[in-house]
């Protein structure tokens, strides 16, 4: 174990913040079934409803009853796509428009609908990861059932123009979903301004516990339960309430909202510091993602000539935790689908590292990472069969 320990993988997940942890310790005793009519049940239910209001407030939803608790982002996304499956079977609108850079749970849900015979379009993105709006406009029409575009990308941090995407979809009468798992708590998220029908969020990305998330469903938007059973969550999502997780989610959401401006300033300054130091100390690097419309905490860099998993593990030995778009780390032969979609060649995608910073990242940590990185890259490039310079030029 290295003496230093620097966690820079906040987009993968975040640590539980102390305020949430303390509250959850007390909440361990909120054992009652929140559906029970008796006093302890009503008390538990009150805690759940408080959390619902806190989560609703974070995404600027005026009616807390539009927030439905789930087990996390994957379940929320699956619920939307299974609803579309039912609607597409019955109605005339059958087409789904999504993007090539979605999280696997959206991509695979969309592919499932495709396998079931419904038309699905995976929109391509530009070099910076923003969707091709020209193509999007052309794909819209009276046959479109759902448009699903992620609010911010987990790997490169690019933020999409959800308000404009929704406006165009609504002109065509389509439903709109956004997977805002990475956006919530990092940038302002407003279901009012975005005007979406469905919005997915996850608690463990905002310093809360894992295993809990939510789906915002605009009042009146169609929904079909993924998990059938009791009457919890107005029949939309059955299963006894996860008191502990939901209470933790509420607190995490409340704090994320209160600290949003402070957070953006903090991680933004540090992310830019890391980016500038890397550019100054390592030749032939490429910064991936949009220069302006990007999450303030995310920095994705390609180091051509050096393989990503090797970089990751040398950093790991130095106590630094990051992630990579390299195939080797994923167990498949293909590098990151997101980086490939931005037009990056596999030789640049395999050598990419994602640094995702968080509220506990310090300047000292950034400087430590910036100091550890150059000799690692130099060493790997020296033993490489591939020239860094040529790879960049060819790109």
């Amino acid at each position: 174990m290295a003496s230093k320990f620097v966690y820079m993988d906040y987009n993968a997940t975040t640590p539980l913040r102390p305020e949430v942890k303390d509250l959850m310790k007390d909440a361990l005793d909120v054992y009652a079934n929140a559906s029970s009519m008796h006093e302890s049940g009503r008390r538990a239910r009150a805690e759940i409803e408080k959390a619902r209001a806190q989560v609703a407030s974070l995404i600027d939803a005026s009616n807390p009853q539009t927030v439905y608790f789930t087990s996390g982002g994957s379940e929320s996304n699956n619920t939307v796509f299974m609803t579309m499956y039912h609607l597409a079977k019955q109605g005339t609108r059958k087409k789904i428009i999504t993007t090539a850079i979605e999280h696997p749970c959206v991509l695979n849900s969309a592919k499932y609908l495709q396998e079931e015979g419904f038309p699905v379009v995976f929109l391509q993105v530009d070099d910076d990861g923003r969707i091709d709006m020209e193509r999007y406009r052309k794909e819209l029409g009276p046959d479109v059932l759902l448009v699903s575009v992620m609010a911010a990308n987990n790997e490169i941090g690019t933020v999409e123009d959800i308000a404009e995407i929704t406006r165009l979809a609504k002109e065509n009468g389509a439903l709109v979903h956004t997977d805002a798992t990475q956006a919530v708590g990092k940038i302002p998220v407003s279901v009012k301004e975005w005007n979406v029908d469905y919005l997915t969020m996850s608690c463990h990305k905002i310093y809360g516990p894992k295993g809990v998330g939510a789906l915002y469903i605009r009042q009146g938007a169609p929904i079909e339960p993924l998990i059938r059973g009791g009457h919890q969550e107005a029949g939309v999502r059955a299963g006894t309430y996860n008191n502990l997780g939901i209470i933790g989610f509420g607190k995490a959401a409340e704090l994320a909202k209160a600290e949003l401006d402070e957070y953006r300033e903090h991680v933004g300054v540090l992310r830019n510091r890391l980016r500038d130091k890397i550019k100054a100390s390592i030749p032939h690097v490429r910064i991936n993602g949009h220069p302006e419309f990007v999450l303030p905490n995310t920095l994705n860099v390609s180091f051509p000539g050096a393989e990503g998993e090797s970089i990751l593990l040398y950093l790991d030995l130095a106590g630094i935790q990051v992630s990579t778009g390299s195939a080797c780390a994923s167990g498949s032969l293909d590098p990151s689908h997101v980086l490939l979609a931005t037009g990056l060649g596999p030789e640049l995608a395999h050598g990419s590292i994602r640094f995702s910073l968080g509220k506990y990242t310090t300047e000292e940590e950034v400087d430590y990472v910036a100091a550890q990185l150059p000799p690692i890259i130099e060493r790997l490039r020296k033993m490489s069969t591939v020239s860094a310079e040529d790879t960049l030029i060819q790109h």
Binding site: L317, A327, P346, E347, K382
Partner: protein
Amino acid sequence: MDAFQWLYSDVVKDHFTNPRNVYSPDEPFEADADGIVGNIKCGDQMMFMLKIENDVIKDVRWKTYGCASAIASTSMLSESIKDMNIREAYTIKPADIAAKLGGLPENKIHCSVLGDKALRAAIDKYLEKTGRAGAFKGEDAVVICTCLNITDKDIEEAVKAGARDWHQLQEATKIGTVCGGCKVKAEELLHEFSHIYS
């Protein structure tokens, strides 16, 4: 070996952090033969350079664009073949190296298969140079299709010649046309070799 421990097995960590016999552009190395396999598009590529005297490997250097398993296993391989006869070196298999490293997790085995192939490519070149092209062919072969006595080497050659799917492989080798019992194993090899020779 669990997922947390594998990198930190002392042998793997040692070879990953201090890889042996890595080629350095700062140090001149006059190789008698070299071999390169793999494709950067698939994320890994390996090159071996050999100094050979009287069919004995006297010195070795290697380069890779590859992950930790590739680096550690190639480093280990490069140590094992010094002062070894090229005929013996030709028969080294990834499993031998993985065993010397104390084992690799299942999902990391595919990362360690390039080293021995680059080594064989270098030896093949040397044999060619010394007028003995193809002399060791078949020596390290394992029979995959027992009905027709078709080996992994035959599959490898077919892939090198362009076979990329089961149908093309059958056309090239007639593999699996009797009982078909070898199909799963053969397709695994087809996939592996396609990755290396694409």
